[in-house]
Symmetry: C2
Subunit: 226 residues, 2 copies
DNA sequence: GTTACGGTCTTAACAGTGTTAAGATTGAGC
DNA sequence: GCTCAATCTTAACACTGTTAAGACCGTAAC
């Protein structure tokens, strides 16, 4: 096996943990977990959850097909990490707009825009059978997003997501913006209208004018705990 | 090949188109298209769109893996037929409740109940990348369902689904019930509440009390064209 | 400084998937 | 009775996720 020996020589001579040159291929990647997540996020954004495959992610990261198993167990483990990334960035965008304008309609616009710009990620985030829904990091990221919405609707944010009827107004707004966004990227509206993207925001505003809460004045900017 | 000859003999002797006994296995199925759809519907109901496979449907129908290709082209063709069945039965239920009580909240309850009782079918119906969205039968069935909703909200029904802002109230109600149902079966509410199913209808009512249109009095029962 | 250990990754194999080409079967029309 | 076209099977292809066995190699113990 001269090929293997050669690869080992090269790997050993250049190997430095955390500082590996691109052309060398050391046996140990060093930061494979992060790179696999990065590769998986890319694929999900490009091709959606259905176009994703564990082997394709491994190929993009430059490792064998069996490599991901050690870090994530199975494909659901990796997709859990991907969905967590998605929810974190989702919460980031919601918090960003909330700092400027804490209204329901402003939150709804961000919600829709996220779904429009990153439909693959958006679809994965709500395909709860594709990852581990009980993951703690995932739950925390989702809760962060929900708190922004709850703040915009009720003027205060819950500490936990429990079956409380006082959350009904928030869930009403959530259902409306989620349903609208999901239906929009699934081509339910404007079956053959090309100028769809621009019209959707106009339609969103018209839709939310039918929601009681959206008509209220904007609540004062909250002091959010990070 | 004595096995084949035997099978042929039996098949030939008992063969009658449209009246084939269960134990005989004639080369030509006779009604394979319908049986494949039936088998595929079963699998989707049991395991959802992700648990579905073309080969499993073929096995359940008792034919080879390549048999479906002739009738449906590819897997998306078969799933188009399945989704069409789903939308037809969905429209049936909506029309049934509409004949008794043509209110938005009544429609919303049927919407939620369909998603709860048949989550696999519901998920397929809105996974528009899994089938041919442009299929005519599918579109007509979807339009039938939309008309019921439009009638309940505006008191009249559109002939076509176009980008018309006058449809905003209907789309508002649609978005809300769709988002609520989708989030509900995706475990977004009551993360760990066991008595979830019963509570969901209560929550649904509370949620829809935030919608302008839902507060109006019920419109008179429409005379629907079939 | 050598050695043993354990985490990391590869190779190889397995059963399963959708799709396709080539061929077998057979009902129906001439 | 023959031919034809529709229907279905067999076989193969490339792909998938998962697993077991083993190769590599940093690190910690001695």
């Amino acid at each position: 096996m001269p090929k293997d020996l050669n690869a080992v020589k090269i790997g050993r001579s250049r190997k430095r943990v955390g500082a590996v040159t691109k052309e060398s291929k050391p046996y140990h990647h060093g930061a494979l977990r992060e790179e696999l997540i990065r590769a998986a996020v890319e694929i999900v954004e490009e091709a959606g959850p259905d176009g994703f495959s564990l082997r394709a992610a491994a190929r993009r990261a430059g490792v064998s097909a069996a490599a991901p198993a050690h870090h994530f167990g199975d494909v659901r483990g990796l997709l859990t990490a991907v969905a967590t990334v998605g929810f974190r960035e989702f919460a980031d965008e919601l918090e960003a707009v909330s700092d400027r304008q804490a209204t329901v309609i402003a939150v709804a616009r961000v919600y829709l825009r996220f779904a429009q710009k990153r439909p693959g990620m958006f679809r994965l985030m709500w395909r709860t059978s594709a990852f581990h829904l009980t993951d703690e990091g995932l739950y925390q990221a989702g809760l962060r997003a929900f708190r922004v919405l709850d703040q915009a609707v009720r003027g205060k944010a819950t500490s936990e997501l429990v079956g409380d009827l006082s959350l009904a107004p928030t869930i009403a707004a959530w259902s409306m913006m989620h349903g609208f966004s999901a239906l929009a990227i699934d081509q339910a509206f404007f079956a053959d209208d090309p100028a769809e993207l621009a019209q959707l925001e106009v339609l969103l505003d018209a839709v939310f004018s039918n929601l009681d809460i959206a008509k209220k004045a904007a609540s004062p900017a909250p002091t959010r705990k990070r």
